[in-house]
């Protein structure tokens, strides 16, 4: 029994979004939907600018708020700590979408709820999730949190600082941000521009 987790070293991430594309291709995520999203933060005044790319996806929380609210048991946690949705059981009531503090779930065009699965089908075969494998700057690491020599634990041990998003929710997310300048910092309340809105309109 493992406790799978992921880390993203934000000092290494170059914002190429290869992980977003790899996820879409690997999981056949339908057009207009994404399981991963990138938050690009730029602060300061030219020429003194600081920036950061933060990739967000399902955080596979230890204390996942989406699991207990599901009325049919369609959202569940595997024994390895991966939070999954069973489309055959999902009625699309959107209780889990509403309950997710990170807004990382969406309605699949087929009707059920969809989100990142940590590529459980690949993990079951002993492979890494598609986003981890494809990352050209090796910013991502994946593995068992309970094993000291797993890639995720090694990456966390090397990092200057480790953050999780919105720790105050008590959800205990298992996606860790390493060496972040802004996560949980003052930039959280900055104005947000949603680029995908333009994509949806076909611009």
């Amino acid at each position: 029994m493992a406790r799978y987790a992921m880390s993203i070293d934000l000092n290494r991430c170059i914002g190429c979004q290869a992980c977003v594309v790899a996820c879409k291709a690997e999981n056949e995520v339908p057009l207009g939907n994404f399981r991963l999203r990138m938050r690009e933060t730029v602060v300061g005044k030219f020429p003194n600018l600081q920036g950061e790319f933060r990739l967000e996806q399902c955080f596979h929380c230890e204390n996942a708020p989406c699991v207990p609210v599901c009325p049919t048991g369609a959202t569940y946690k595997t024994k390895d700590g991966i939070v999954l949705v069973d489309p055959a059981k999902c009625i699309g009531c959107k209780a889990c979408v509403t309950a997710c503090p990170y807004k990382m779930r969406f309605v699949h065009p087929a009707g059920h709820i969809d989100k990142c699965t940590f590529c459980d089908h690949r993990v079951a075969e002993g492979m890494e999730p598609a986003c981890v494998e494809t990352c050209p700057s090796e910013a991502r690491a994946f593995g068992d949190l309970d094993k000291a020599d797993s890639p995720v634990r090694l990456a966390m041990a090397k990092a200057q600082c480790t953050d999780v998003l919105k720790p105050e929710t008590g959800a205990h997310p298992k996606l860790f941000y390493l060496n972040s300048r802004f996560t949980n910092g003052d930039t959280e309340n900055q104005p947000v521009v949603v680029i995908s809105e333009q994509v949806k309109k076909g611009e």
Partner: protein, 341 residues
């Protein structure tokens, strides 16, 4: 500046007006069940019109509300899954089962209104027609003509009505029991409409214990207003003190809600600002509090003191209260979806 690529947070589809309609109708029917239960047990025979309207409206109104729940589901083909499991931690699972019991009770009450079968004709079809009188054949040798066989539609109609009437007679034997169970399940439905929202910590506007009693009280006020629309003046006047009392309790709960949000965490304060200011603020203070609670309560109080405002018809306060009750659900659902930790 922050830019987001991918599935934008603002584009995530969640709940909307469909759920708000259900929450309103659920609360309304909950109130009808509680009212009819209380009057059946405490003052039997005193409010016949009230009981008739409650029995007549409960089943169709809740069915209509549940239809909107069905519309909201994005994977409707799997809806039956709700009734193959019971998830103890899921308020929605509790709600699904409570609704099932409630619908059964409301259906029995609705069927109870069906009168005993009697003869009538529709479109040339004669239902429950008396058997034809056999004439004495003139010739002893002549064959006795068998009466014409009724059409399958007539037989189906007669059998269906007969069965429903038998069910109504059977249910009538448990009138008091149905009243007690109806009050319990009605309270559960009214409370549940608030619990559904308040058990979601990711939405600080909803995540408060005040919401369940607020929705239950609002449901009672709305159902009182709904019944007043159909009651004769003498019954209406007897209900008015109760109606004013529920308006008062609802105002107190709204005050507690506002204090709770105002003195809460930063997330709660931000959420409170969404509800109490801007477009939602206008709807909340204007339509819910002023027009939906204070104005009708004052008008009803004047009516009780025999100072009825001449140019305002008696049906205006109940309509305002119903409008306020519905707006309360709409603004809380939509403002809550904008609130975040």
């Amino acid at each position: 500046m922050i830019e987001i690529t991918g599935v934008g947070e603002e584009l995530v589809r969640t709940w909307g007006w469909e759920v708000a309609i259900y929450l309103f109708l659920g609360g309304l029917v909950a109130g009808l069940m509680i009212f009819s239960g209380v009057f059946r047990l405490l003052q039997p025979g005193r409010f016949p019109r009230l009981l008739f309207m409650a029995d007549l409206s409960g089943f169709p109104l809740l069915s209509f509300g549940m239809l909107f729940l069905l519309i909201d589901l994005s994977n409707k083909v799997n809806m039956w899954r709700l009734y193959t499991t019971f998830q103890i931690s899921s308020p929605m699972s509790w709600g699904a089962w409570i609704l099932l019991v409630t619908m059964a009770i409301l259906a029995l009450r609705f069927v109870g209104l069906i009168p005993a079968p009697r003869s009538f004709s529709v479109g040339g079809l004669h239902f429950f027609a008396p058997p034809p009188v056999q004439e004495e054949p003139a010739d002893e040798q002549a064959e006795v003509k068998a009466p014409p066989k009724p059409s399958p539609l007539v037989r189906f109609g007669e059998k269906g009505w007969g069965l429903l009437h038998k069910l109504a007679v059977w249910a009538g034997r448990f009138d008091r029991l149905l009243a007690i169970v109806g009050m319990i399940t009605g309270t559960a439905v009214g409370f549940y409409t608030g619990i559904l929202l308040s058990t979601i910590p990711a939405r600080p506007l909803w995540n408060t214990a005040v919401l369940a009693p607020l929705f239950l009280t609002s449901g009672l006020a709305s159902s009182g207003a709904y019944l007043c629309l159909f009651l004769p003046e003498n019954e209406h006047k007897r209900l008015a003190p109760l109606s004013i009392l529920f308006c008062g309790i609802e105002l107190l709960l709204i005050l507690a809600y506002a204090i709770n949000l105002g003195y809460g965490t930063l997330a709660a304060q931000r959420s409170g600002a969404i509800l109490f200011s801007g477009i939602y603020g206008w709807a909340f203070w204007g339509l819910v509090v002023l027009l939906g609670l204070i104005v009708p309560a004052v008008l009803e109080q004047l009516e009780m003191l025999h100072h009825q405002v001449k140019f305002i018809p008696a049906r205006v306060p109940p309509v305002l209260k119903l409008l306020g009750g519905f707006t309360l659900r709409i603004v809380i659902v939509y403002a809550g979806l904008l609130s975040f930790i």
